[in-house]
Symmetry: C2
DNA sequence: ATGAAAGCGCTAACAA
DNA sequence: TTGTTAGCGCTTTCAT
């Protein structure tokens, strides 16, 4: 139960008004400077004054005006998180929620407010650029940027403290937190091959992003000279329906396929449904693995072998990187790469 | 391609600094007042001055400081959207993304920034209350509040312009935008019954929220005296796994069940998987319907009959309500209830 | 049509 | 230890 009163102060004309430092000062019988010192936990305040001020704050229900403080401090204690995902797609991405939560947790500890900013239309991007440069935000976390992203450019132009989740190639030496998509893809493909498969294909998505192209590269790495380009099908999105479509094509082109690396769990789920509808038994006839370790993986039957993404940690680390930059600490010297273990289940 | 330069202004000591109205004024050879008038599109500015100022703005790369403007205007052109969902659960809710997008679209048109605020822990709620009262936000949209929610109380205490998505019973005459959960539940249950089912059960979730209890009430309405309490199973969440659990219990208790109203599509998907695993054929042996018309519905096999929620519209309408309140227009006289048509597919 | 000047609420430098 | 004062960058009277 919160006992806070947001009473404000009654003016001579009878209207209520939000209390200001001045009201507190008058009520406590001290100066505004002293009130400010208490507010900011600075030393050189007598116990007596501090007590009087605390009482006065409670009495008039004072809450500092952040805009005023921002104006003088040149900071806002708020950090933006931009997801540059087209349209409503970002809710299909199982990681974004966790990234958001991880970032929020880290910022919350440092008493920063997370502001989730949506870039849903060109107009949004414009407004966003203005917002970023308007000084309402001290730093920014950028998720799922592409190479050549206008948001990336705007942030660079503003040199706003920023951290990327993922690693587009054109962010210079900006901070980023990523996973080793290529290494993980290589590892899970190798394991899939080790289950005795000889005709392994891939449904590759989102090749315009580092995550997508890296997963494909890892797949190629793992197969080495056994790699057959015929067994790779490219689709636009990490989605269930693109998984279905990709699998249909692959099945047409190579009915003898006995292993599939799907670029995400959602893609794997779509592929699995198509395979099963075509009478294939998983994992007996075809082994299949995904990527993300999202809720899709457990909904599959049999449950999906996949790569676990530390999404919460990605968000948390990105937030911490921004906070560190804000404190003027070492700029993380580039980026951090987080572990993403393979989770082996029954689908392969 | 954006030609904006965020150059700022070079100081005597050589360091770059963000340009201010004063810099623009000097550059254009006018006063700050005139610059401000141009910035705010006010009349009584000569074409000559306006042209000089526009040029100066471009030259020095001026972007207004929102904090300063907020301080004097007492508003921020930003509106918060609070989702009070425990933990990471809010990304499981298929509607929240659309609500977010709808709200963003409406606010974007009015040149407001949407700030998505997360209430993930008690500490968050505290910080949130401070944030709301800190004047960084002009109004707020509140999603999935429960009765007695501390956020609701804080907002009421601040009398911040607010609109609820959904209709908790204790929000007084605050604005809200909702669907008629009870009516829709009644309608879809009636239709399910009309397919010739005689032993119809329900998996009821989230009874601590208006949406959950209303759906149950509608179910009871529809069945009238044919209602059998034995056929209702209560589970905590609108989730796939709670759907599975609920269906197992129901199947144990009433093996002759031939119709199921699941309180959400995710619940229905869980229930459907359990039914099929138990050898029931859908819709021949058991008819099943859901609620939400989310991506779950199409992922089911056979696809799910369900109630379409106009989630985007809910977000948009809530945003518009807040904007109207901000403009001092009629406070919407309580709430709006949006249509939610039944979508009939193959599962029943 | 425009300039000068007074604040919005807060912090910080300087005096005392 | 405390009070005084000068801004932060902007808008907005009130003169002119």
């Amino acid at each position: 139960m919160c006992s806070c009163t947001y009473d404000g102060v009654v003016e001579s004309n009878g209207r209520r008004r939000r209390a200001t430092v001045k009201d507190v000062a008058v009520e406590a019988g001290v100066s505004r400077g002293t009130v400010s010192r208490v507010l900011n936990g600075q030393p050189y305040v007598s116990d007596e004054a501090r007590k009087a001020i605390d009482a006065a704050i409670a009495k008039v229900g004072f809450v500092p005006n952040r805009a005023a403080r921002s104006l003088v401090m040149q900071n806002t204690q708020a950090i933006g998180l931009i997801v540059h995902e087209p349209h409503s797609l970002f809710f299909e991405d199982p990681n974004i929620g966790s990234i958001l939560l991880g970032a929020n947790a880290a910022l919350s500890e440092a008493d920063y407010q997370l502001s989730f900013l949506i870039a849903d239309s060109p107009r949004d991007i414009d407004r966003l650029a203005r917002y970023l440069s308007g000084g309402l935000i001290d730093g920014v976390i950028i998720v799922s940027a592409r190479v050549g992203d206008p948001i990336t450019r705007a942030v660079a132009a503003l040199d706003l403290p920023a951290a990327f989740v993922g690693h587009p190639r054109d962010i210079g030496d900006a901070a980023y937190v990523a996973i080793d998509n290529r290494g993980a893809a290589r590892e899970i493909t190798t394991r899939l091959a080790a289950t005795g498969r000889s005709r392994i294909g891939m449904i590759a998505s989102a090749l315009d992003r580092d995550s997508g192209s890296d997963r494909l590269a890892g797949f190629v790495d793992a197969l080495g000279n056994r790699f057959d380009p015929q067994l790779v099908e490219r689709v636009p999105l990490y989605s269930y329906s693109d998984g279905q479509a990709g699998m249909r094509t692959l099945l047409d082109r190579a009915p003898d396929i006995d292993g599939v690396f799907a670029s995400s769990d959602a893609v794997a789920a779509g592929a699995m449904d198509v395979l099963q509808a075509a009478g294939r038994v998983i994992p007996d006839d075809v082994g299949i693995v995904g990527f993300d370790d999202s809720s899709w993986a457990l909904r599959c039957d049999p449950p999906l072998s996949t790569v676990h993404q530390p999404a919460t940690e990605l968000g948390r680390a990105a937030a911490q990187s921004v906070l560190r930059q804000l404190r003027g600490e070492d700029p993380d010297s580039g980026g951090r790469v987080l572990e993403c273990p393979v989770v082996w289940r029954a689908s392969a």
